[in-house]
């Protein structure tokens, strides 16, 4: 990163001059990302929609990326900038690992991402914010952890579950009612699909499972064995199972009243 800044500073997002603008710049925005921990790991998932104003800019955008072997980052906000930020983040983690011969700690990775978001503050003030959700398996503590961020780069660790993006309020509500301490990996992946379904139900910028086009959420699982992205078939099976239940109960599973 320092090397890049010295040799080719134009490649770094934070170093660019911003043109003066008036009003909001129209660019595709990504929407909802959710994460939930379970004993043994963490699940990070995102819907597939990108919107530009009231238009759906892309139906099958991918917003969840592996950062390295033991962590992943999901992005909400301006898609172009966010994808670049993730690319740079992946590069830094890999570079560090190769040069030092050891991985950064999970905290270290989370802090690094925080600085990168902060360097984008100028753009964020012009409406081009990037707000990621970072999840990873902490090898030292042997558990999954989630970190959420605000536009200024403020970092906070979330316990149990977290969401970011326009549909996050609805997703968080759903997860709050469905979360339990003893989820299995499969239950955790089902939970995130439910949460994304609820987000898509109430937020127009979040895409639900698209059965006709076979576009399903991206679901990733990080455990002791490393990062794994569920295959198309696994994601489709999960989404169809949730969808089938929703045909009977459109609002999803009911939590106990007391």
């Amino acid at each position: 990163m320092d090397f890049l800044g010295e040799h080719q500073p134009e490649l770094l997002p934070g170093k660019r001059q911003l043109p003066p603008t008036q009003g909001v710049i129209e660019a595709p925005h990504g929407t909802t990302i959710v994460a939930v921990t379970f004993p043994g790991g963490v699940v990070l998932a995102g819907d597939r929609r990108a919107t530009m104003g009231n238009v759906i800019a892309q139906r099958d955008i991918e917003k969840v990326f592996p950062a390295d072997e033991y962590s992943a980052v999901g992005i909400a906000g301006t898609a172009g900038l966010a994808v670049e930020m993730v690319k740079l983040f992946q590069l830094e983690l890999e570079h560090f690992e190769k040069v030092e011969g050891a991985q950064l700690s999970l905290e270290g990775k989370a802090n690094r991402l925080s600085t990168m978001i902060r360097s984008n503050l100028g753009m964020a003030m012009q409406g081009l914010a990037v707000v990621p959700l970072f999840a990873g398996f902490d090898v030292d503590r042997a558990k999954g952890r989630i970190f959420s961020y605000d536009v200024t780069g403020g970092r906070s660790e979330e316990h149990n579950f977290a969401a970011t993006g326009s549909g996050s309020i609805f997703a968080r509500g759903a997860m709050k009612k469905l979360f339990r301490d003893d989820l299995s990996e499969e239950q955790a992946t089902t939970l995130v699909v439910q949460a994304l379904y609820d987000a898509a139900d109430d937020d127009s910028a979040t895409g639900g499972p698209d059965v006709a086009r076979r576009i399903y959420p991206i679901i990733t699982v990080i455990t002791e064995d490393g990062f794994r992205r569920l295959t198309e078939d696994e994601a489709s099976e999960l989404s169809r199972a949730v969808l089938a239940r929703r045909l009977e109960e459109p609002d999803g599973p009911r939590a106990a009243l007391l």
Binding site: F3, L4, H7, Q8, L11, K87, L88, L91, E94, H95, K98, V99, G101
Partner: protein, 249 residues
Amino acid sequence: MSTPFYVSPQQAMADRAEYARKGIARGRSLVVLQFADGIVFVGENPSRALHKFSEIYDRIGFAAAGKYNEYENLRIGGVRYADLRGYTYDRDDVTARGLANVYAQTLGTIFSSAAEKPYEVELVVAEVGETPEGDQIYRLPHDGSIVDEHGSVAVGGNAEQISSYLDREHREGMTLAEALKLAVTALSRESNGTQREIPAERLEVAVLDRTRPQQRKFRRIVGPQLSRLLEAAGPATAAEAEESGGDVE
């Protein structure tokens, strides 16, 4: 003012080459071999922290004999070159050929500049392809030349003797266990023809494995996995070696 002695350029270069060669010869040798599923790096290295082999990029590995601080410097330079290239263009645009050229330039410049002492290092840059035909191995001696190698290569102290042995014994399509055994045998041959024992904990082994599902093909082989491979290669038949070579990871 005293007049410096005249030294002919030939003599000056020969002295520098001799100096570098001596430095390299002090270090232990290492070998790089092609096998059916990729390229294996084997060397004798008592240290667990200072590696002789390392990953440069997805398909590219690096091996060095000689002075640690000098090749470490070159290694970090290589990682930077590769990462910058991959970030600016695409991951596929980082190749062993490009990297070997950069190293050759650097080593050549240092070797012929009168102000600096020549680097006492010999490098190997290897890239694993989709098929064995796509594998590339380059050897870079201290003076900045590039040698395109096939099958096997040895660098370091006893390199000539080891590589002539490897040339005789190495064949295409070996399993990992077979290649490892050949490498260890080659490394443990003394110059007077006797064999000495190199225990597993003094071996440093890494592979560029084309069958690895991840994008990054470099993997170190350590601990139980290494002992298992060494045992498999020992008295076992080729069929058994095949089997245990297949279920590593």
